[in-house]
């Protein structure tokens, strides 16, 4: 129970610690914008080219750019969470934090806030770029965008929490997972193509992943002008389950790290 006691002050302290770090390092800020911009420009021009041909893309302007933007929310949200966690390991500061009165739930809350901050720094300029270069205004999706965003960020936090648990348990040896874990979802969540193109048996896997509902919902909105509330509700349900499972796994991995002495060898 005590692990669940909550102090907003301690969460603010950890957010400030990360904010000080970001503020002091322009390469870190640049890095947040660099890849999303590069990806947007590349895929945006591809979309421009195929839309000049006849067919689906001609009628569904923005589907590819929309997919790129939403995928980046999912991926960068998790990366923002995981990198904020990794910064403590790189700085050899994890011992100080684990020995302080900071509860796991506060640590996770601070990492969630930092993932949002990092995401905003990266994604707002990219969304403006999409308007300027390709005339695609993701903000015009309004409430639908808010629902898409909420679902995607929930998934990204769940993955971030699980990866943080793996890092606590296995140290920096598990660092690669922070960068690559989300790509495991890429083919199955059907970011760039509809679920119907998957083999029938693989569609069950796809529908078990919350982001699949968001990408299907986005395609329905952009091609058929229909907001699929049913898909969003299902996504929230799956996200709830995923978040609970990730939090449980994190606490178990933390317990296991204490048992195996990993917290005093986290740099190895």
């Amino acid at each position: 129970m005590s692990a669940l006691a909550y102090s907003p002050r301690r969460v603010r302290a950890m957010v400030r610690r990360n904010w000080y770090l970001l503020r002091s390092s322009w390469p870190r800020i640049l890095d947040l914008m660099y890849w999303p911009m590069l990806q947007m420009i590349t895929w945006g021009f591809l979309q421009l080219y195929v839309s000049q041909q006849a067919g689906f893309f001609a009628q569904a302007g923005g589907v590819l750019i929309g997919s790129v933007l939403l995928w980046d929310i999912l991926f960068r949200g998790q990366l923002g969470f995981s990198i904020s966690f990794l910064e403590e390991m790189y700085a050899r500061n994890l011992g100080n934090i684990m020995m302080s009165p900071l509860r796991p739930v506060e640590f996770v809350a601070a990492l969630m806030v930092m993932s949002l901050v990092r995401l905003m720094i990266g994604m707002i300029p990219v969304s403006l770029l999409a308007i300027a270069f390709f005339g695609f205004n993701v903000w015009s999706l309004g409430l639908a965008l808010a629902v898409f965003f909420l679902n995607l960020i929930l998934t990204s936090w769940s993955i971030g929490i699980f990866v943080a648990g793996l890092l606590l348990r296995n140290g920096l040896g598990a660092e690669t997972l922070a960068w690559t874990f989300m790509f495991l979802m890429l083919p199955f969540t059907c970011v760039y193509y509809p679920v119907s193109v998957l083999p029938h048996w693989l569609q069950y896997v796809a529908w078990a992943l919350p982001p699949t509902y968001v990408f299907e919902g986005m395609r329905a909105l952009l091609t058929e002008r229909v907001f699929r509330a049913d898909l969003m509700i299902e996504a929230f349900i799956f996200n709830g389950v995923l978040f609970a499972a990730a939090s449980f796994a994190f606490l178990r991995l933390l317990e296991s790290a204490r048992l195996h002495g990993s917290l005093i060898q986290s740099h190895e």
Binding site: A13, R17, Y20, R258
Partner: protein
């Protein structure tokens, strides 16, 4: 009154195994409140694991650890705000200024008047001129003092120190020892100190626990250890224990 509540730190038959390797083997000791104790031992003696179990970072395989009456690690959140530590094996973030680092940890430890506390500590530890410098730009001696400032932020009732003067010049090291003695006297703090500097141990510690291969080899006051081993200084006592000459010499 329960001895676990009376004492600041109580270990009862504590053991820790890592994949079949015994790091700590049936260790028991109790540290009264307000005492300074040194934990000595060569590499692999089990000091770090013992301290990590006291901090709640490692769960014992068997036995029990109590700090200020709380079972570690299960009840650690009841007492972590009353403890602190300093170790050369952890760092403060280098891209934050000294003031930012101390301010973050002051918030984590629930300090009320943060600016005043940081100013007082900076003055005590000669850090005032470095407060707005990046921590990573400081010399190792200055960093050690910043880590010590972080460890004293919450005026801990239990202070765990791992080589607190390792990178300090003799003059500053001596001054830090004096500061630790004053801190202990002023706040009746309990200090557990792991050190390889025998002068430091002789000056600060009123009790010495010597570990070898995960077990306590000896546990006494520095004076009684010197007298029992017939030695002039603790370094010779340490070498006697480390090289297995304990029994012959002590007998």
């Amino acid at each position: 009154m329960d001895a676990r509540l009376q004492n600041a730190i109580t270990l009862e038959r504590v053991s820790k195994n890592y994949k079949g390797v015994t790091a700590v083997d049936g260790v028991s000791f109790a540290l009264p409140r307000g005492s300074i104790t040194a934990l000595l031992g060569g590499n692999g003696a089990g000091k770090t694991t013992t301290i990590a179990m006291i901090m709640g970072l490692v769960t014992p395989t068997s036995g029990s650890v109590h700090v200020l009456g709380a079972a570690m690690p299960q009840e650690r959140y009841q007492v972590l705000h009353r403890m602190n530590f300093e170790s050369p094996y952890v760092d403060l973030p280098t891209r934050l200024t000294v003031r930012q680092n101390l301010s973050v940890f002051a918030q984590l430890y629930g300090i009320e008047d943060i600016d005043a506390r940081i100013a007082a500590l900076a003055s005590d530890l000669n850090l005032t001129e470095f407060l707005d410098k990046w921590t990573g730009k400081l010399s190792s001696g200055q960093k050690t003092r910043v880590s010590l400032a972080k460890a004293l932020l919450n005026r801990p009732e239990v202070l765990l120190l791992d080589e607190p003067t390792a990178s300090l010049d003799p003059d500053t090291a001596d001054w830090v020892r004096g500061h630790l003695e004053t801190f202990r006297r002023s706040f009746n703090a309990t200090i557990l100190l792991a050190s390889h500097n025998m002068n430091e141990v002789e000056r600060l510690a009123e009790r010495v626990i010597i570990m070898k291969k995960g077990k306590i080899e000896d546990d006494d006051t520095p004076q009684r250890l010197l007298s029992r081993y017939g030695r002039e200084d603790l370094e010779e006592v340490f070498l006697d224990v480390a090289r297995g000459r304990k029994r012959e010499v002590a007998q």
